[in-house]
Amino acid sequence: MARLRNPWGRPRFLVLVTGFYILWSLIPVALAVLFAFNDGRSRTTWQGFSTRWFTGPTGSVFHDPALQGALQHTLFLGVVCVLVATPIGVALALGLQRWRGPGGGTVNTVMLLPLVTPEIVMGVALLLLFLQVLPGIGLGSSAQIIGQVTFTISYVVVIVRGRLVSIGRDYEEAAADLGAPPHDQLIRVLLPLLAPAIIASAAVVFAISLDDFVVTQYLSGDASTTTVSMLLYASARAAPTPALNALATVALLITLATLGLAYLVYKRFASSDDAAAMAGLEV
């Protein structure tokens, strides 16, 4: 109808749908965050504002040992996963980009497989691997890290390769032409140009690690390897208090802060580089 009236006008119907979708997806999150600040024990009835579930003396995120342990373990897994997956992913991306021989296509497809494999399949497969093939490692933190690294590497490869493709080979060739040996071509030219993509992929890896439930759950050992997502799942049916909402809120904030920070750094780098056709954060 709007089309008949004014073809240059704002597409109202699209605005409406978009607005509705944004509200629909944000309301549950907003509600969960809201009840993290509930003064009572209920997660459904509002009883006034308080921060007791964050900082209160008992049963709060900062004082309950179980909640605190879960938060610490989650952050630990996230940091280690970033430190392991990012360098390996960058190296793989560089290697795949240079790969000229046969089999390049196959390796490319294999790299993308973890992105499309259902996580539950991945989790079961990894569980079997650690139980049957590599019992020496066993379940627990090491298995969780290896599991998370296994599928987060793919994200790093995809993001970094996107940037590599848009950079092209000219800069490396220019560096070689000016006398830089291969090592210097990498350090002085390629890595600085890849920095935005590397930071972006580290942030994505961290966020995915924080959010991950299936693989992390399958490969967990004792209670000390419980993460936030596992705790949320396990106690959702027990006797949940708003402390769980508070825990989720903290995890959410960390994720958002990571992505926000990565975005800012990325933009700063990107603005100093006119060739803005880079792999975005939203891969």
Binding site: G168, A174, A176, G179
Partner: protein
């Protein structure tokens, strides 16, 4: 003279595709040498092999008597100006120019002095602190030039360096580049697809096609004595006559329709169907019915007034269209469209062309 390059049987294949097909070229030291040809002719691949970015499949690249074909690019005393400039976006202009000096083991003072000199050479002395993306296309081009020249290479390779600039800037930079080359006296190997650029800037030109060198020589030789049809066509002198040739008393007899033309330059030994060319300014236009040797009847199809001259497009017997240029000397113009005329084609101006890819370039001597 330093900076002399000999390419010997240089070949590069990518899978089934032969990009460069056994070329031999001699690029004298200190000269402005241009490789010109349509896209896909192998000129850029040849340049990239000289730079070291592509490894030749076979053949030799002899730089000042040393075969460098298997030397990696960072160890060759050859520098490149890229078509995209490839200025490092994360470094400012001075750091871009100083990038390669790091490998020259200079003191800080020397380093700074050479960067300043190089920037001065391209008239960008005050731009050291800027980032490449704060410069115009022409300025970026100069930085790329300074970054290569600061290393005092024996040979500078330029891969369509003016391709991304607008026409006017292009003209200015053509003149500057040529002057710079003359001043520095180093070998420039220039790649372009623009035949005019090739003719006006170079000491020597090689026209390439299909991975081979069609002909190499001075711009004058190339323009006035193109060896092959392709060269004549590519260099913009495609005033062609289809004829049936037979060798005749040190010249060539060309049968065109009912008439016979005598030609005394080009491929004198050719026989059978050939193309012959004549430059528009050598075609004499005479009134209809004029008789004599080497004359063909025709009909003016178009008359184009270009200011200093008239350009006539004359359809001759046999169906070919010949261009003829008549200087505008102020006299009354008598050849309107549709006028029957007689064309006089002087024997020494009619050049018989070898078919493309035929005999090796003969006017080299």
């Amino acid at each position: 003279m330093q900076g002399e390059i000999h390419l010997e049987q240089l070949t590069k294949t990518f899978g089934d595709v032969t990009a460069v097909d056994g070329i031999d070229l001699r690029m004298p030291g200190g000269e402005f040498f241009t490789m010109v040809g349509p896209s896909g002719c192998g000129k850029t691949t040849t340049l990239r092999m000289i730079a070291g970015f592509e490894r030749p499949t076979s053949g030799r690249i002899v730089l000042d008597d040393v075969d460098v074909a298997q030397v990696p690019p960072h160890k060759r005393n050859v520098n490149t100006v890229f078509q995209s400039y490839a200025l490092f976006p994360h470094l400012n202009v001075a750091d871009n120019v100083g990038f390669g000096l790091k490998y020259k083991k200079l003191t800080k003072g020397e380093h700074r002095k050479r960067v300043a000199e190089a920037l001065g050479l391209v008239q960008l002395g005050d731009y050291g602190k800027r980032k490449p993306n704060q410069l115009s296309g022409g300025q970026q081009q100069r930085v790329a030039l300074a970054r290569a020249l600061v290393l005092t290479p024996q040979v500078l390779l330029l891969d369509e360096p003016l391709g991304a600039l607008d026409a006017r800037l292009r003209k200015d930079l053509q003149v500057e580049l040529k002057a710079l080359q003359a001043e520095l006296g180093i070998t420039f190997v220039f790649v372009t697809h623009d035949q005019e650029e090739a003719l006006t800037m170079s000491d020597r030109v090689a026209v390439m096609s299909g991975g081979r060198v069609e002909q190499a020589g001075t711009p004058r030789e190339m323009y006035e004595e193109p060896a092959t049809l392709f060269v004549a066509d590519f260099l913009g002198v495609s005033n062609l006559i289809s004829a049936d040739a037979s060798p005749d008393d040190g010249g060539s007899a060309l049968r065109v329709g009912e008439r016979t033309l005598r030609a005394t330059s080009g491929a004198m030994d050719a026989s059978g169907e050939v193309k012959a060319m004549i430059r528009p300014e050598r075609v004499g236009v005479e009134a209809q019915g004029t008789t004599g040797e080497n004359r063909l009847p025709g009909m003016v199809e178009r008359a184009v007034y270009v200011g200093s001259a008239h350009e006539l497009h004359v359809r001759i017997v046999g169906g070919d269209l010949l261009k003829a240029t008549i200087q505008n000397d102020g006299s009354t113009f008598a050849y309107e469209e549709g006028t029957p005329v007689t064309l006089y084609l002087p024997p020494d101006a009619v050049r018989v062309l070898a078919p493309s890819g035929g005999a090796p370039a003969e006017p080299e001597a």
